[in-house]
């Protein structure tokens, strides 16, 4: 809120002009708003409809069941586990990528021989399809017998770690973080580079060490960029699916079942369209709660 009032002094001119322009802009914005509305409303309406129907694809008698699907879902202990797992996954990956991204951004802001090439290597994981990266990590790296990690721990005399059995959630977090660190790095590096060089020089002249430079000059400047990273990543992390599907199938037990995977299980392993739709509705509600709290806190920074 404060951001809006702070920038309010620029706005009067534009809002004054708005009243005169209103009619002319309507046909302009209409197509996108219309398309978005249709996109939102049609599937939403259909999802709502199916969520009160008993409809199993394998046994296709569609009949009204009222809130039966919701009751079934809310009584299911796995729903709460899945919500918790979703939060853990999103929270950990956000923390890891922001911290690692910031450190790497500071590092790549320095000039060193071949830094352009090194930067290309560092951002490469962002371009890899989630399915492919999960397959590489599962089979080539984390496989306890044939993987590189297993080889490394054996060569220093340790038992190889059976990643997906012993630390399933940590393994998934590791893979997802690997994919998103480059994104954070890219955005944060851009932000650091847009920092005034003169400002940095001046601070250095005043005798600021690298640490105080980082904490008093660079970090405050990154606030907005971090918000961007957090927001965009949250959107994608809430629906992480391929990495879980390929590596752990949500297990062992429910250890890595997040909400997206739980709905997948309902929809495509159990073919319970009614239950999956109810899950979808719950996910929409949750998404809006998250949008309301998390994004809103972050969004303050975005309104500059």
């Amino acid at each position: 809120m404060s951001a809006i009032t702070a920038s309010g002094d620029v706005k009067p001119a534009s809002s004054a002009r708005r009243s005169g322009q209103k009619i002319r802009t309507l046909p302009f914005i209409a197509p996108s708003v219309l398309i978005l509305l249709v996109w939102m409303i049609v599937p939403l309406a259909m999802t709502l409809y199916f969520s009160v129907m008993r409809y199993n694809l394998l046994n296709p008698v569609v009949e009204f069941t009222g809130l039966g699907n919701y009751q079934y879902l809310l009584e299911d202990p796995s729903l709460w586990t899945a919500m918790w797992n979703t939060l853990v996954l999103v929270g950990s990956v956000l923390a890891i990528t922001v911290v690692a991204g910031t450190l790497l951004a500071v590092l790549f802001d320095q000039e060193f021989p071949g830094c352009g090439i090194a930067r290309l290597f560092a951002i490469a994981p962002f371009f890899v399809m989630p399915t492919v990266s999960a397959l590489i990590w599962k089979n080539l790296l984390m496989h306890p017998i044939n993987g590189i990690f297993g080889f490394l721990s054996r060569s220093v005399g340790l038992e190889p770690i059976d990643w997906f059995a012993q630390y399933p959630m940590a393994s998934v977090i590791m893979i997802v973080s690997w994919q998103w660190i480059p994104f954070a790095l890219l955005i944060l590096l851009t932000a650091i580079q847009s920092l005034d060089n003169e400002q940095k020089e001046a601070a250095r002249m005043d005798g600021a060490g690298p640490l105080s430079m980082f904490f008093f000059i660079i970090l405050p400047h990154l606030g907005r960029a971090i918000s961007v990273v957090v927001m965009i990543e949250t959107i994608f992390l809430l629906t992480v699916f391929a990495e879980i599907f390929v590596t752990t199938s949500g297990g062992p037990g429910l250890a890595t079942t997040n909400l997206a995977f739980l709905i997948y299980v309902r929809a495509l392993l159990e073919f319970d369209v009614g239950g999956a739709s109810a899950g979808g509705v719950i996910a929409i509600i949750l998404a809006n709660i998250v949008a309301f709290f998390v994004v809103r806190t972050v969004a303050r920074n975005l309104e500059a």
Binding site: N56, L57, L58, N59, P60, Y72, E75, D76, K138, H143, P144, I145, G150, E159, P160, D162, W163, F164, A165, Q166, T247, T248, S249, G250, G251, P252, G253, L254, A255, V265, L268, L269, E270, F271, D272
Partner: protein, 445 residues
Amino acid sequence: MNKKTRILGLLATTVLAGTILAGTTVVQAQQTRLTVATVNNGDMIVMQKLSSRFEQANPDIKLDWVVLEENVLRQRVTTDIATKGGQYDVLTIGTYEVPIWAKQGWIKKFDNLSADYDVADVLKPVREGLSYEGTLYALPFYAESSMTYYRTDLVQKTGLTMPERPTYDQIKEIASKIHDPANQVYGICLRGKPGWGENMAFLSTMVNTFGGQWFDKDWNTKIESPEWKQAVSFYIDLLKNYGPPGASSNGFNENLAMFSNGQCGIWIDATVAAGMVFNPATSKVSDKLGFAQAPVASWPKGSNWLWSWALAVPESSKKEAAAKKFVTWATSKEYIKLVGETEGWVSAPPGTRASTYDNKQYVEAAPFAKFVEQAIETADPINTTKNPKSYVGVQFAGIPEFQAIGTQTGQTMAAALTGQMTVDQALKTAQSAAERAMRQAGYKK
């Protein structure tokens, strides 16, 4: 100004190019194009390769292949057929789906097959598994049961011998002596990856032979029972003590890779693997390979499963004649012969026809043939368990709800295997989840 027009022009051309490309794929020549959906298993990949022969013989038919991993394929195909999407003309489905889908009227009958096809030649359990109310609804591409594979060299070193039909106690004893993790040789490899077609396929046969079952004759769930507890504890004990690390993410493919690479002493799995582990091109252990029947415990039946991958034609397909022509070709004696001659007899699709097992060339090339045929002939989907049951199927229950129940149970068993739950907890969780699902589906009030 210039820049702007260039960008708009670029946008326009890309959109235009996209529409044209989209257009060309829809408009096609007069040929009948069949979309064939299949699993990426070795035998199907051979089929895809050899299908050019079919196209040469039938120039008016062109095949478009959709090859996907088993889980993805199942979800794709089920969504399509249940919503009558009509994207496929030939489907690869299994013994579990065929009767259920036939009941829904989703797939076409195969009722007037030509004499050449010799339907009586198809092994009886396989034929029955693909029928609904006495009519065939899909034709078997290959069929499998389960059996025991072992390394003759490693078993010999222990001084023990593998009986032709071992018990689970004997398996455990041999595995314990072979187990040598320091040299990356593990006593026994079993499926641990969760899924009704993965760990539960194997574990169900174990439960059967330990005297247990999924449901009794009144659809009461019987997971929380002494028989299940005994079987599951034995399974976990085996894998924990004498199995490879990472067992909970090993499915059929992973175990096949490990066994072929010489890392397993014993492996109990699908008979279809025999052709692959015995083939020197794909296996390092082809010359020191032994075969035995699937192990048993207290109850002699139900210890080996029955599955076949079959080709079916969806009701929504508008190209029935061409599709059936292809299906009969790919499941015919001639096709088996074609594979034998081009790929080597050891790779011929197994388990479907008596004539394959009467063929001297095949039996010579495949010393495991007798075991496989016997395993398939003895698998009995109806009289399987010690106590009477209500469902049809050895390693699954032939009801639509089973996929859900089997998969959930598979997850809890994997959790028990990794030590996140005790066996008692796991069985309790699985029992209550299965009861919930059966109640929701209306089997139990």
